[in-house]
Amino acid sequence: MANESILSVKDLRVRFRTLDGVVDAVKGINLNVRAGETVAVVGESGSGKSQTMMAAMNLLASNGEATGAVEYRGKNLLTLSKQELNKVRGRKITMIFQEPMTSLDPLYTIGNQLMEPIMRHRGLGAAQARAEALRLLELVKIPDPERRLKSYPHEMSGGQRQRVMIAMALANDPDILIADEPTTALDVTIQAQILALLAELQRKLGMAIVFITHDLGIVRRFADRVYVMRSGEVVEEGQADELFANPQHPYTKMLLAAEPTGRKAPPPGNAPILLEGRNVEVEFKIGGGFLAGPPMLLKAVDRISVTLKRGQTIGIVGESGSGKSTLGRALLRLLPSEGSIRFGSHDLSKADRSDMRPLRRELQLVFQDPFGSLSPRMTVGQIITEGLLVHEPSLSGKERDARAVEALREVGLDPAMRNRYPHEFSGGQRQRIAIARAMILKPKVVVLDEPTSALDRSVQKQIVELLRNLQADHDLSYLFISHDLAVVRAMSDYIIVMKQGKIVEEGPTEEIFGDPREPYTKTLMAAAIDETKFRQSV
């Protein structure tokens, strides 16, 4: 029984018809899942790992088409009628997704959404289904389940929503649970909780789990067997421990080595202070208005002091909602704040927009989302030289172009690409463009707001190295905002841990990582460090 293969993918091909022609996303792969085991399908974005499982569940976008076979206990899911298929999916094979925030219907209560598949697949009445829903919420450890049945998704956090998704997926005692990057969108401490929950439920219920992930830490901890995918093909497969101990394919080796490594050289002890915030406070008003009473006040940043020296990198770490991005923006005076902010000899706390304008070129910002932060209607050349038009209006077109060439070369892009548009570039290339846009102005301080979070691990590593090199070449100071501790460690001299707008702990990088004092920092580290440890052992 234990070795019986219950799901087998045979020569599966997935192609999408797009305006640019047919794109082959999955190119004839074979894959097996046995009862009760945990299989990981690993790969970076675009490897086809998600589309393989989407095809198996018949969830491909309308322009997608799958050929080959996906057999569940002898039935080919690709050729089943919709009615037959709906007896399998949601019942025998279920799936949870990467986007817990949007994967639940916002218009119905949790109870309603949980009861629906139970009633459909098991033919239970509403009262029985409700009792089942309650049991499932308890199973996935949602506090106060009775009340939560009546909650709407928007009233719950991302972690809780993912728990609800898991409850829905487990409602009908499935044979196989497909988990498509189930923790990628969550904070590290929540990630650890969700993974622990999945492992516990698997022990309890005995279903097979297919993990689709880019995160080798998860694979290492949970998977029995691994398939490594790249550009629509399986490049390597095997038992997890064997594969980690002795990777065969160069791509697997590269993935395993993709953790950002190395440490930043510290700035000289006598480096001058460049940017200093004292007791910085940012408050947001929520609601209020005509006859609506006074607004609610939310302290996003609560009396935080930061001292950034020339050549230094301060890592600001925290989970979503901790106020780390708000702090970065307040220090650049992009948000109104209380407290004092000094940049060199300038007092920024009283500066208005026009006072700030000449200083802006020295205080630059790079954002998280390399897809949203570049205008799709401008060429790369126009994007990166736009700041020069404001700050060095005397430059001629030719001089600007020369600067663009220089900036692109510096971030490791071919300057010939400057007449192309952003959509022609990959995520990593776009982030390089965003960095070039900041660097062309020759700034002194750069706030990097999660610059690597949207990128694949192997690309993250390159961007970290690029940022470190640029810093060394130009004596830059960075405020590096991230929730990713491995990246922060490779980048920073000093670390500030934030939670709910306050500093929990701060200190030199090695101290924070080597000997965290506060319980919150310890949880944060524990969630991340497993992965780091195993990587070092590889």
């Binding site: 709906n86 999916r89 997704f97």
Partner: protein, 307 residues
């Protein structure tokens, strides 16, 4: 919710005041007056009439008097239809316009929504293209073409419908005007519905519903449709205000005694009180329906809360 509605009603007061004030002075800026007609009244009669209606008073006094009357619900007499007060004209015409408008709106919402869903479910297939073609025709062929064509075909050639007239509200007299009024609305609703339904069907929670093996009916109607009707609800508010207050073209061509023609007739004749009455009426309808839309929004979407 109650507090919210109360607050919105309070904010309607200054809004109405601004609209009334603007309209009052704007119509006075237009040259001429209610009694300078082509046929020409003798100067004595004209002076008498103007004195009777207080048109010789300073403008600010006329404005103050108008506001006073308005607060008592009195729209004043019509200058050009002197046997009637504006209120009487509305009392007779408004129910007719509302009947036609409401029927046309209901028809448009039902047919448009269904067509939109059909198109979205058959995206880029024959069903979709047919709906788009129909919608394009519906929104590009003007009412003043559709109405005479209906009269010609159904009234004269096939003798199925009366050519025009209200006929004391007989159903058969309403069919032509209702179809004419609803065609462009069907087109707009179908297009809106198609777009928002396509978007809704692509959303992540629909993927979840499919992955859970729910039936097509549940996926499409329960999960996709409820989110997708929100843009239709938004559109229906202003559309209702416009439809219920009558259409000059349809009412003129089909000889319907509604209030749609008053707005244009009154403005051309400088029938100040009737113009003002129509403005107030349309403004009230618009404000009311926008409020209804916002309340409906909270009903459709639990994320919308107004306290």
């Amino acid at each position: 919710m109650f507090l919210y509605v109360f607050r919105r009603l309070l904010t309607a007061i200054p809004t109405m005041f601004v609209i009334v004030t603007l309209a009052f002075f704007l119509i006075r800026v237009a040259p001429g007056g209610p009694f300078n007609q082509e046929r020409g009244l003798s100067p004595e009669i004209k002076a008498n009439l103007e004195a009777q209606f207080g048109l010789n008073d300073p403008l600010w006094l006329q404005y103050v008097n108008y506001l006073k009357n308005l607060l008592h619900g009195n729209f004043g007499p019509s200058y050009n239809l002197p046997d009637f007060t504006v209120t009487e004209l509305f009392a007779k015409g408004l129910p007719i316009s509302i009947q036609l408008g409401a029927s046309a709106l209901a028809l448009a919402l039902i047919v448009g929504t269904v067509l939109g869903i059909v198109a979205a479910l058959n995206q880029n297939k024959l069903g979709d293209y047919s709906v788009i073609a129909l919608a394009t025709a519906g929104s590009t062929i003007p009412t003043f073409v559709v109405a005479p064509v209906i009269q010609l075909l159904f009234g004269l050639t096939w003798m199925l419908l009366p050519i025009g007239g209200w006929g004391d509200g007989a159903l058969i007299n309403k069919i032509g005007p209702i179809i004419t009024l609803s065609l462009p609305q069907i087109a707009i609703v179908a297009r809106l519905m198609r777009g928002s339904m396509i978007e809704s069907l692509r959303s992540n929670h629909i993927r979840t519903a499919r992955a859970l093996g729910l039936s097509d009916w549940s996926v499409v109607v329960k999960h996709a449709l409820r989110g997708a009707v929100l843009p239709i609800v938004s559109y229906a508010g202003p559309a209702a205000a416009a439809l219920l207050t009558g259409s000059i073209i349809v009412e003129t061509i089909f000889a319907i005694p509604g209030i749609g023609r008053y707005f244009v007739d009154a403005a051309l004749n400088r029938d100040y009180t009737l113009v003002m009455g129509t403005v107030v009426l349309i403004a009230l309808f618009t404000i009311a329906f926008n409020l209804i839309v916002d309340v409906l929004y909270a009903f459709f979407d639990p994320r919308v809360r107004y306290d």
